[in-house]
Structures are given as C-alpha cells and as structure tokens.
C-alpha cells in the first residue's frame, strides 16, 4: 500500500475546552441507567467556542512545537462535521488569525469522524509532491447529540492539529505508510438543514466501526509485512472506551499498547479530532524510534490508517506547548442547563 517517503509531523497540538459534563448528569435527567455509561464525562465547548476557535488553539500549539515561520505554511485543511458556516471555509479564518501565508490552499473536509485524517492524507501528499513546504492538518468538532439520545453521552468538543513537512532528523514522527478503507455503510448520517445526526444504533458496531477499522489495520500491517510485535502504540478512533479495546482483542493487541491512546474516558468522543487527540496523547509519552499505528474511523463509512516512527525531535519539542494531560487538567464541571445554553440547544 502507499508508502510515504518524505513527510513527517513537525509539530502537534490539541485543544480541549475547559467545560465538562458528567455522564451521570445526563443519565439522571433522562432516566437512564448510570451503571454502564459509555464515558465518565465529556468536554463541552464554551458559548464563545466553535470548530474555528478550537482549530486555532490546536494549530497554535502545533506551530509552537514545529518552530516554523507561520508565513511558510501554505496549506490549511480542517476536517470537521460541525462547520460554523454551511458555505464559507473554516480554514481561511484559521489561516488569517494565525498569520499564515495568503498563498495557501484551504478546504474543509467532511467524512464524519475521519475528516481530520483526510486532512492528514491531503497535507502529507502535498508535502511529498513538493507542492508545499509546510501544511496544517486539523481535526476539530463540536459534536452534536440530540438531547436524550444515546449519542448525547459521548458527543464532545475538541481539536487536534499537525504541522506536516519534509522528513528531518529533528522531526517529531515520520510517516511510513498510509491506507484507506471505505464502503457505503449508512451507520450514521445527518441530512442538510437537520440539527442532529441519525444513527443505526447497534448497526454502528459490527458492520461499521469494527469492519472498517479492522480492515484498514489488517491491510496496512499485512501488505507491508508488520506484525503486532513491530508496533509500540496503537491509536484508534474512540466512539466510546469499549470499541477500541474490542478491536485490540480481535487483533490480539496487548492492551498496554492501546490504552495510552485512550482519551474518550476523559473527554468523550470528539469526532474528527478523536483519533488525532489520541495520537497527541501518545506523542506526549513516546520515545524516539517507536512505531505508532494510527487509525481513524468515520461513519458512512471508512478508516484511514497510518504507520509512523517517532524521531529525535520529539523529546525536545514536546515541552514547547501544553500536553494532553495539561489540557485536560483545566476543567470546570457544568450542569445540564448550562450545557444546553453553551451548545445553543435552547431555541426560543
């Protein structure tokens, strides 16, 4: 499958809004059982935050770690399913705020929760082709869950960004291989003008998340001659905590290689940002020379899978911006009514 010969992560960053709502708070209101909540709590964007503002924060951290001149970044691709505008790109606002080059290619990608890794695919290709020196791939969402729906427990807010450029000894992690696996699978969707998505309940598991994730992982490992033993960390998309751990069981991956990337238990499912934030958390603790398998999943449906190897620049650059743990430590619990106000669910 496609080998990536000359593209690397030079800077990474994530952003998690400070507000949290407990799963218990939602379960109590809707009369649901509190014994098996999919996540303990989820991150909620404040009333003045959206996909654009969170993308800006994550990208700023990534640029600080990369140490590149923002005016040399000439691609900004934002993957999201919660664009503030139906028509008007988010990436141009991000570029303008960060003072990036005006000679920039920019578009918003949509592929449910794998829109962010679609941006990674695009920017790595642009760098490899020599069309750009540096590019920003961003995944961000203020995920929508219908009040009372099962998704409401997990649909969260967050962003992650990677500055991608050519390989160097001082980079954070170089890409080795990439693959994608897609099919027409209606497990989750939202039509135009609808406020909330629909989903196929249990159908979202076996034929959707598991089939595509496992197919992408098996393809990238099998076709390139890697086994589980060759890989130090596995990063999966996390609609909840159970699903990525179930993938690990199916593929006989030791849990200690999967758990370092688990973020959903602390912040929920941040959709297009989710697997990217998982990678950020792994980069916060990995050592140079370790191999990471990073796989997203997006409903509709498909998975992108990447193999990366961490490099010498990781340890020096890690402390140039807040880590995932530092981001998560700034938290303020809110009640359900505040959550409704922040997420504009009260319509009068």
């Amino acid at each position: 499958m496609p080998r990536i010969s000359d593209a690397a992560i030079l800077g990474y960053g994530c952003y998690v809004p400070r507000y949290r709502i407990k799963g218990y708070e939602m379960a109590k209101l809707w009369g649901k059982s509190t014994s098996e909540l999919p996540v303990k709590e989820k991150a909620v964007a404040g009333f003045d935050e959206d996909t654009v503002t969170m993308s800006i924060e994550a990208a700023r951290h990534a640029i600080n770690r990369a140490g590149v001149d923002p005016s040399k970044i000439s691609a900004v691709h934002v993957g999201t399913e919660s664009k503030p505008y139906a028509v008007k790109p988010s990436g141009t606002i991000v570029a303008e705020v960060l003072g990036l080059s005006r000679k920039t290619t920019s578009a918003d990608f949509e592929f449910a929760c794998k829109a962010g890794t679609e941006a990674v695919q695009m920017v790595t290709a642009l760098v490899e082709a020599g069309r750009i020196e540096y590019g920003l791939a961003i995944g961000a969402d203020t995920a929508q869950g219908r009040p009372g729906d099962a998704l409401e427990f997990t649909a969260a807010s967050g962003a992650a960004a990677f500055v991608i450029g050519k390989n160097s000894r001082d980079c954070i992690a170089k890409f080795e291989y990439a693959t994608s696996y897609v099919s027409d699978t209606p497990d989750f969707w939202r039509r135009s003008y609808e406020r909330y998505p629909m989903h196929g309940s249990r159908f979202t598991g076996e034929p959707a998340y598991f089939h595509h994730t496992i197919s992408a992982v098996s393809t990238i490992m099998g076709e390139n001659g890697f086994s589980v033993n060759d890989i130090d960390y596995f990063v999966f998309h996390q609609p909840n905590v159970k699903f990525p751990l179930a993938v690990a069981k199916v593929l006989s991956i030791p849990l200690e290689k999967v758990k370092p990337a688990i973020v959903a238990d602390q912040i929920g499912n941040t959709y297009a940002a989710c697997s990217m934030i998982g990678l950020v958390k792994v980069l916060d603790r990995a050592e140079p020379g370790q191999r990471i398998l990073f796989t997203s999943y997006g409903s509709g449906a498909g998975s992108d899978s990447f193999l990366l190897v961490t490099c010498e620049g990781l340890e020096r650059r890690r402390n140039l911006a807040p880590t995932f743990d530092e981001m998560v430590s700034r938290r303020k619990e809110i009640d359900y009514s505040t959550y409704l106000k922040f997420r504009e669910k009260i319509r009068v």
Binding site: G46, F47, D48, T53, I56, V97, P322, R330
Partner: protein, 131 residues
C-alpha cells in the same frame, strides 16, 4: 444587519492585535495608519501587541448590546499589555470570582458575536487567565 466590510477591515487588530507603530515615538495604533496621531511622524511600521498582559480593571455586563444578548453575563476587562498598551476586551474561560487585579492574562480568539440577521460570526481577541 452589520456590514461585513466594517468587520472585515478590522481583522488584523481583532484577530492578531496587529497595527501600526510609530518608529519615531513608539506609539501603537490599531489598524493601518500613515501618520502618527501622537507625533505626526509618517514613519510607521506594522507591529503586533504582545499576547500577554496584566488585568487592571474589569466589570460584569448583564445588559448587552444587540447580537450579544445570549452571552450575558460576560466580563469586560481593561488589560495593560506587556508593552504598556491598554486594551479593552472580553474575558473568557473564567468567572468574576476567579479574577484578581494584576493577574496575568493572555489573548485567545473566540466568537465575539453573531449578527442577528445575517448570522455572520464575528471572531476576535478575548483575554483569559494565563495558564
């Protein structure tokens, strides 16, 4: 309805605190100016204010202007930036009881308001307590 152009012209300052600084007397002007308002010099160059400062004063707004009614209550702060310039903007990611005079604050870009009719979103600088 707010005119998009009036907001669009403000982008350098409201997004990045970017404006013109007088090379002769050092006075900073928001937005692009050709003549220094303080000394009359025509020697100005583009510059940015620092991204951090000190909180000097603040107040809590409960009666907001059009387009910001749903944001109430919100905090408006007078901040002395690290270069001595003074900027008035909203505070975010904090409650009034978290704030103390002379505490360090930093800039962040957030939604300022949404135009009622056009639904155009105005983004711009706010302050939050420094990490």
């Amino acid at each position: 309805m707010s005119k998009p152009a009036s907001y669009w012209r403000l982008r350098p300052f409201v997004y990045r605190l970017e404006g013109s600084r007088c090379v002769k007397c050092g006075h900073f002007h928001p937005l692009v100016r050709k003549v220094c308002r303080r000394c009359g010099s025509k020697n100005l160059e583009r510059d940015r204010l620092p991204a951090t400062g000190i909180l000097r004063h603040f107040t809590v707004v409960s009666q907001a202007q059009q387009g910001m009614e749903k944001n109430t209550p919100f905090i408006v702060a007078w901040v002395e930036m690290d270069d001595g310039s003074k900027v008035v903007a909203q505070m975010t990611d904090c409650e009034p009881e978290d704030l103390k005079p002379a505490m360090k604050v930093e800039t962040v870009v957030r939604k300022i308001k949404v135009d009622g009719e056009s639904r155009l979103i105005f983004y711009g600088i706010k302050f939050r307590p420094s990490a």
